[in-house]
């Protein structure tokens, strides 16, 4: 598959040798990679359908080097694509032919573990799970837990505002980050926030979270940590229809219960998973719900009892409560293996990531069934039921001519449907290149221009990760112009006192 990227600058490509030499003078030794075979591992991120070799890869180790690399590229008009572990599912770290790929993997130190203030200061190349591992001995953990947490980095989590299965109760990355050090494209180093709450001035930290590497390169992050709950238990509930499962989710929340995690799977997903993991999922259920509550034992037992009762009232066919930690983990093992389980039954699959108002789920699933017939491709669904984040997995075989394109069209139609029912294009995977050209489905040109003006405030030359998020790029000078048509408009008919 191909996606249109900003046209490569032939003048930059012609100067490649000089650029590589200049970068080597900033980052000596093995920190600059310029041979084709050594650059190959960087040609794509988790969205492997799109590949592109960068012009050169740079792996800096210090903020000063990052600042110097960016300042040099800024001066020379060279594009830069930042990258963490490269687990993005939306192509956010897809290299550019004429761009420097700035790999942050060497920023792998945990700088400060501060239990008194319940924060950890890390470099952006530290993995999500490593933060938890660094504080687990004292009973603490870092709450956002994307499925890729063993590999994905905190810098990437900030760029994508990563979530996970527990974010209904504990928030996403943006709710768990207190500060960062940020290098702008011109090399300026800024500090946002710290170990305290809220911004002094505009909430630029809130803006950086989820900005997909377009505004700056993060070189240090301060995250909050929490004490682990005393215990957790899960309930596995099978339903005869997705309507019943959806009604159960609403009833649980309506009863004032916010579970630590609440996941739904449809029948195709349940079958794929059960064959793979043997978690004991009910195969006759049309929809399966996993509800987990955490807290002190007294609270967990009390809530589990109430959830069981609600499930019964919502026409559940089966209802199993975990009686041991092993059983709870087994319930989750199936859900967590959903993607590889699908990978087992299909040569290729696309993982989509829309969010919908939860009440629209039956309608969206029914429409999806029709689309599945229309495109001749199977689809399985896993769903963060608490927050409406839907992951349809479209099964296809790239060796069969036309299937990949059909899968792509199928995906686009699903996401368009998500927006039409009041949802959004992406809940946690990011826009990247994958959903870039669908942005006008959700935003007007005025909306997108306003967002690009924010980009201009950080990177007026548009050199940092161009070609991602925005379908059409405008020059900042053009965006800055005012078009006041009504300069001398008669005063409108607005009440005036």
């Amino acid at each position: 598959m191909s996606v249109r990227m900003p046209e490569a600058d032939s003048a930059v490509l012609a100067r490649r040798d000089g650029i590589v030499a200049a970068l080597r003078s900033i980052v000596p030794g093995e920190g600059v990679i310029a041979s084709e075979c050594e650059m190959r591992p960087f040609e794509s991120d988790g969205l492997t359908a799109y590949r592109q070799l960068p012009m050169v890869v740079v792996l800096p180790e210090t903020t000063k080097q990052v600042s110097q690399v960016l300042a040099y590229c800024h001066g020379e008009g060279i594009k830069v694509v930042p990258r963490g572990a490269g687990t993005s599912l939306s192509g956010g770290a897809l290299p550019l032919e004429d761009g420097v790929l700035l790999g942050m993997a060497k920023f792998n130190r945990i700088k400060d573990v501060d239990f008194v203030n319940r924060v950890v200061v890390v470099e952006p190349g530290v993995t999500n799970l490593a933060v938890t591992n660094a504080v687990a001995h004292a009973g603490f953990y870092y709450a956002p837990d994307p499925s890729s947490q063993i590999a994905c980095t905190i810098g990437g989590n900030v760029a994508e505002n990563s979530g996970g299965v527990h974010c209904l109760k504990y928030g996403m990355t943006t709710n768990n980050v207190l500060g960062c050090e940020l290098v702008l494209m011109n090399g300026e180093v800024l500090r946002l926030g710290g170990k305290h709450f809220d911004a002094e001035g505009y909430d630029l930290l809130g803006l950086i979270n989820g900005s997909e590497g377009l505004l700056g390169v993060v070189t240090e992050v301060t995250v909050r940590i929490l004490q682990k709950a005393e215990c957790a238990r899960a309930v596995l509930v099978g339903f005869p229809s997705s309507e019943d499962a959806g009604a159960c989710v609403s009833a649980i929340i309506g009863a004032g219960i916010i579970p630590g995690g609440m996941e739904m799977m449809d029948k195709p997903a349940v079958h794929a998973v059960e064959e793979f993991v043997h978690a004991g999922y009910p195969l006759d259920a049309e929809a399966l719900l996993i509800v987990e509550v955490d807290g002190p034992r007294a609270e967990v037992d009390h809530l589990i009892e109430r959830i069981e009762k609600i499930a019964k009232e919502c026409r559940s066919m089966t209802c199993r409560v975990s009686t041991s930690e092993e059983e709870r983990l087994l319930f989750w093992a199936g859900r967590k293996a959903a993607f590889p389980a699908i990978g087992r039954i299909s040569p290729d699959y696309f993982c989509m990531d829309g969010t919908i108002p939860r009440a629209k789920l039956p309608q969206v699933l029914a429409e999806m069934k029709k689309m599945s017939a229309k495109y001749g491709l199977r689809v399985a669904n896993v769903f963060h039921a608490g927050d409406g984040n839907l992951h349809p997995l479209i099964l296809y075989d790239s060796n069969i001519a036309g299937e990949a394109d059909r899968a792509e069209a199928f995906g686009a139609e699903i996401l368009t449907l998500c927006v039409a029912v009041g949802g959004v294009l992406t809940g946690e995977h990011g826009v990247g290149v994958e959903k870039r050209d669908l942005m006008p489905v959700m935003f007007s040109e005025i909306d997108l221009n306003a967002q690009q003006r924010v980009k201009c405030a950080f990177d007026e030359k548009g050199l940092l990760n161009p070609g991602k998020v925005f379908p059409v790029l405008h020059r900042c000078a053009e965006l800055g112009r005012m078009h006041i048509s009504g300069g001398k408009l008669p005063f409108p008919d607005i009440p005036r006192f």
Binding site: F140, L190, R191, Q227, R297, E299, R358, P495
Partner: protein, 404 residues
């Protein structure tokens, strides 16, 4: 007297801003104006009064979402949520009495634009963390939307975060969508008596670091303790709130009380006293009473362990108490007309965080920085962001910083 423009709908807000742009007028953006005196004094020609944009447009309790026109009274929203046993979990404080006005004023738009929060900030976040979607008119007279009505959304930049806490300087919000949450079934408070500020910080850190899920942690030194409601003794009280279902609160109360015994003598407040206490903490009651209203008031956010160190650098004649496990200091200075900005700024600069002069006469707010002064690079970036939204300075110009 300032002219007031009172649009009846979102289109009229856009018209008003366009008119102001074309006629070189600056607008004071306001809801009910309950927080109008926070910030540098307004240098505007007219007031854009958004209180006419009122009404809840969507409320789905099971989806935990509510949409309203930006000028909807906060009290109306809280009353509606209460019927479904839900609430604004960020526990927005009421600046009204603190600023010499009436209680229970203010709009949802104002709460978001000033990024309000309360004692539950430490657990549930501030307005910014609950702000899902927005429609707003920028200083270019363009109507933009961002976000949506779903909790999980990373489509495009998070403009909601940028508008939350922007004090109306970037755009005039017309419609907002927020996340709402169930109310806790009950609550209780564990009180540790007689601690000094430093030991209180240690006790609060231990409580926050426990698995007791504390949803409010404040230290109320003896010189202000008598102003708070629900406390057993008017001496220094370190108070820790627990919320949730009854069996859980009971269990955690016992666990936390046992844990806190090593710090000092422990007392317990049941639901009624606990609610009264935290309402008075949320409303900053000692400094909202008539006799305290002349005192310039600072709100300082810092790392929890630094709160008492900052306090030690401020004149002993100031009255203070701590929220957010020590990370939020409310400091009322002893003399009207003397905010002692130099010592506050010095303390914050050396220990980290930021300070806002939330209450002082207009003449003072014109001459000293109200918001934390920023390092040059960050100040320039904030200015560029402002210019992107409002290049001609039509919306609340100079409210946060001169020239921005």
């Amino acid at each position: 007297m300032t002219d007031i423009l009172k649009p009846r709908d979102a289109q009229e807000v856009e018209d008003a801003v366009r008119w102001a742009l074309g006629n070189d007028k600056a607008l004071e953006v306001a809801g009910q104006g309950s927080k109008r005196t926070i910030g540098r004094p307004s240098q505007t020609d007219l007031t854009l009064d958004l209180s006419g944009l009122s009404g809840v447009t969507l409320y789905e309790p099971a989806e935990l979402v509510l949409s309203a026109r930006a000028g909807t009274p906060l009290a109306e929203i809280e009353a509606l949520l209460d019927k479904s046993n839900q609430e604004l979990a960020f526990e927005p404080m009421d600046y009204g009495p603190l600023l010499g006005g009436a209680a229970d004023q203010g709009t949802i738009g104002g709460a978001i634009a000033t990024n309000l929060s309360g004692p539950r900030r430490i657990k549930a976040g501030a307005a910014r963390d609950h702000f899902l979607g927005v429609t707003a008119v920028t200083g270019r007279a363009e109507t933009i939307k961002s976000g949506g009505r779903v909790v999980k959304n990373v489509t495009g930049y998070d403009m909601c975060k940028l508008l939350a806490g922007s004090w109306g300087t970037l755009a005039a919000m017309t419609d907002v969508t927020i996340k709402v949450l169930p109310k806790a079934e009950t609550e209780a408070t564990v009180v540790i008596e007689g601690l000094d500020d430093a030991n209180a910080a240690l006790a609060m850190a231990a409580a926050m670091g426990s698995s007791c899920d504390v949803s409010g942690a404040a230290h109320l030194p003896d010189h202000v303790a008598s102003w708070f409601d629900g406390l057993p003794k008017p001496e220094a009280n370190t108070v820790l709130r627990l919320e949730g279902v009854a069996p859980s609160v009971k269990h955690r109360k016992e666990t936390l009380a046992a844990l806190m015994k090593s710090f000092g003598s422990v007392a317990l407040l049941e639901e009624k006293e606990s609610r009264a206490l935290w309402r008075s903490v949320r409303q900053v009651k000692p400094f909202a009473v008539e006799t305290a209203r002349d005192r310039p008031l600072w709100r300082i956010s810092t790392a929890p362990s630094k709160g008492h160190e900052i306090a030690a650098l401020i004149t002993p004649a100031a009255q203070m108490f701590y929220d957010w496990a020590g990370g939020l200091i409310w400091a009322a200075m002893p003399f009207a007309g003397e905010p002692d900005a130099a010592s506050i700024r010095h303390a914050v600069a050396s220990l980290g965080g930021h300070a806002t002069l939330v209450r002082a006469p207009a003449s003072l707010r014109a001459s000293v920085d109200v918001f934390e002064p920023q390092e040059a690079g960050l100040a320039a970036l904030n200015k560029r962001v402002k210019e992107g939204f409002d290049p001609k300075g039509v919306l609340n110009p100079g409210r946060m910083w001169a020239g921005v």
